[in-house]
Symmetry: C2
Subunit: 499 residues, 2 copies
């Protein structure tokens, strides 16, 4: 088996145990691992590292593509291994440690991490751990279900550990397109001009001597945790599709639509699923994560091509897709997240970008990251890369949370990840606000009227009316701007009387 | 004289009076004019339009490159002509009308306005008024001291009025590089790979029949209002130069430095002036506005090339530069603001971006636009285009304003234009905070320690200590987050006792 997966004979003798490989990592090091939206993460060596931390001091900076599966962040947190963590995470245990100030979490635009590393603004990276489906005859590392930051990590790290994952389908080989920008100041344009352009190589090439250890695993990717569409997410999808149909009928968009980007999660997945029955044809995606909905759209004949940095599927969909990869092979490409999320390509292609908001305010600013303005949820991820540079940027959220005790529309966002300059459309199950070309006072009226839940509409109107008495481009009464948030913290509800 | 400036004979009979030309503009229209940082603005027809508004209802949407000179925004505001205005302004009278809610102001990233117009997300544009130094034999419109959005306005508008300005130096001809992206979805890479690349034409070409009127003027550009360096701005420059020297000595930057961008205004101009005596050589700029300091750096032999979208100079410098244009000609290019501010080029070149902050908070978020969170100052301008995509983004501000009654460092910015994800360096006369790779709790300590004025340091430490008791990635006590701002509004000072 190993010989089929490690086709470069010179590397066969570097196969070792996870514990032995983990010995390459010492206290204080910066470690990069593969893994993006739970897909293609390194599954063995990080766990062996946590084991070793039982008996010796071991604190590292861990940099990944995005989120990991298999409780890797949980296990490392519980073992006290994580001193610093970037650029994204979704783990409950790690999140608590971050919010207690025990782990320093640096929340970054996903396109930027390797740019910072390459220019020595963070790092240097000591060890990279990369999951691979195979190593080619000439030593090329073939990633698995994600590319993420793996290629640049392997290039920039002093030593590389490869985790060959026998459970990952050999059919993955050939799907990847590895392209790395030249160093500045002699960098050239990124040559992608359509979602299906292939501009790089199908594996990652580094000097063979840097591959310091190879580990074999059979652990499968953790399955997607995306929930099925519900009544509210179906309404969000329906408002959005009506809006897009309207844009097509006004001649602003073609019925093919620009390439789509959709953030990870239940709402974005549900909206994409809604396109199966919408009157748009020959859709393409230029996105970061490809979820169940991408393959549903391909199966329905609606989508002709999808470019991403990872494939994260439910268990059932995973089985179906990888048993029928021949059906999808020529419709897919997996790219480094620096490329999938690159401002240059996003603006050139003119994407429709759909991302999820944690809360929005009456002027169209968006909080994607901080609960109550203070506590980190997951991180900004790629939402900034896409929203800033897209043809237009849509943010979706349910209008209320916590059984109605939280309004997702507030007077002022308690943390601002995307501001009025970058937010074009807000959609909730209540309706859609098209903010393009509107001044803040106009935005306030359309957001309150169209997007807020009836439970909170009068509260927000009252706030806005009061704020107007002080005037301004963006009227606020600062002493009241967070009164809903403070009331929630103190009483458990943003409403004067809990529902 | 007209024949030298209007070299296309077929157009000579379109010369008319400003009042007659202004008749092309009717109530309800969208009008685009040249003008960027007071340079190269249309100076006659807008004033004639205001005159006409005395006798008939006349409300327009006015879109410019950036700010105008000659009180054009003031005159139009007083005449009640401005219903909507985008994407930037600096006029006191207009600002007041915006803050009273009388003019709807849409504050945009300067690279994005024509992208929105081109895709019919704003507009359509009825009339464009473009200042020109000449019209070539084949009808090419040669801009004057700014390109701004002029080329795209001329292309996209139904009718074009040209203001030939005899006071603008004929030496301007040849400085411009007009490049317009192809429509999406078939757009190609923007081919600029160094600040001095020329990729377009030296004049703007549109069908001759669209040129509906030509007006002659001799009004000179309004001079720059930038103040000379003072003790505080000199300190800011000195902190920044020390930091850059340190980066060079650590091998992270070459002594040539990456191309520089500097926002408009006194602080950025003073910092650039500081480079005259700094140990960096062969500097280049890839910026939006070229100010006095650019030419001082060229005169001192420190700067070899500058790319911008406009030239805005003091009266004395203007005279010196344009009387000696031969000395500068091969060191200059003026581009459309869509190109000077394009994310694609900014990221490719890896600029050092220097912009001014109105206020910053202890976590490194920046407010560039709203006084007290509510009242518009000027607009975000190009700061977002540059800060997001630069090699690193520096924001400079004096640590206090209003004789010490305002701290520029606050617990939470009252309006967020640039968030923690995009802000790398904060510098005040007190010192510099290098935020790269730091988590919010680490940022708070370095910003409070290094950048705040001693008058406010304990207040901010107290706030942070209190906020820490509630925990979180970004500790805040929301009910106190704006207490400095509210105190200032109520008492005239952020201090408990006014200084």
């Amino acid at each position: 088996m190993s010989e089929q997966r490690i086709r470069c004979a010179a590397l066969l003798d570097r196969v070792t145990t996870p514990a032995k490989a983990a010995e390459l990592i010492r206290d204080g090091m910066t470690v990069g691992t593969s893994g993006f939206t739970r897909a293609g993460d390194a599954k063995e060596v990080p766990i062996a590292l946590a084991e070793r931390a039982r008996t010796e001091p071991l604190h590292i900076t861990l940099i990944t593509g995005a989120s990991l599966g298999h409780d890797v962040d949980k296990v490392l947190t519980e073992a006290g291994v994580l001193a610093r963590r970037m650029p994204f995470q979704v783990d409950t245990t790690l999140r608590r440690a971050i919010n207690r100030g025990e782990v320093m979490f640096i929340d970054q635009h996903l396109s930027e991490t390797v740019e910072l590393l390459r220019s020595n603004q963070i790092g240097p990276m000591d060890v990279a751990i990369i999951e691979a489906v195979a190593i080619t005859e000439d030593g090329g590392i073939v990633p698995t279900t994600s590319v993420g930051n793996s290629a640049s990590f392997a290039i920039l790290a002093e030593k590389v550990i490869v985790e060959i994952n026998l459970s990952q389908s050999p059919a993955l080989e050939g799907l990847h397109d590895i392209w790395i920008p030249k160093p500045r100041p002699t960098r050239e344009p990124l040559p992608i001009v359509t979602p299906h352009d292939r501009v790089g190589t199908t594996s990652v090439h580094i000097p063979l001597e840097k591959i310091a250890a190879i580990v074999i695993t059979e652990k499968a990717d953790s399955a997607s945790t995306v929930l099925p569409a519900d009544e509210d997410t179906a309404l969000i999808a329906s408002h959005l599709i009506e809006f897009l149909k309207h844009e097509v009928s006004r001649g602003r968009l073609s019925a093919q639509l620009p390439p789509l980007q959709a953030g990870i999660g239940t709402i974005a997945n549900a909206v994409l699923a809604g396109f199966v029955n919408a009157p748009f044809e020959n859709l393409t995606m230029y996105s970061e994560v490809l979820q169940d909905s991408t393959f549903d759209l391909m199966d329905s004949g609606k989508m002709t091509f999808a470019s991403g940095s990872s494939i994260t599927l439910s268990a059932a969909k995973h089985k179906q897709v990888f048993q029928n990869m021949d059906r999808y092979r020529d419709k897919l490409v997996l790219r480094p997240q620096e490329v999938s999320n690159h401002p240059e390509v996003i603006r050139r292609l003119g994407l429709i970008a759909l991302n999820t908001a944690l809360e929005v305010d009456i002027y169209g600013n968006v909080n994607s990251t901080h609960v109550g303005g203070t506590h980190m949820m997951n991180g900004i991820g790629g939402s900034g890369d896409f929203a800033r540079n897209a043809y237009f940027a849509i943010f979706a959220t349910k209008s209320i949370a916590k059984n109605g005790n939280v309004s997702s529309v507030v007077p002022m966002v308690s943390h601002c990840d995307h501001n009025e300059h970058d937010v074009d459309i807000i959609v909730t199950e209540q309706g859609l606000a098209d903010l393009r070309g509107l001044a803040p006072r106009e935005r306030a009226r359309v957001i309150i009227d169209n997007c807020t839940h009836p439970l909170y509409r009068d509260l927000l109107r009252d706030y806005y009316r009061d704020a107007l008495t002080l005037g301004g481009q963006t009227p606020h009464r600062l002493e009241r701007a967070f009164e809903l948030h403070v009331r929630y913290r103190e009483t458990g509800s943003m409403l004067a009387t809990a529902v």
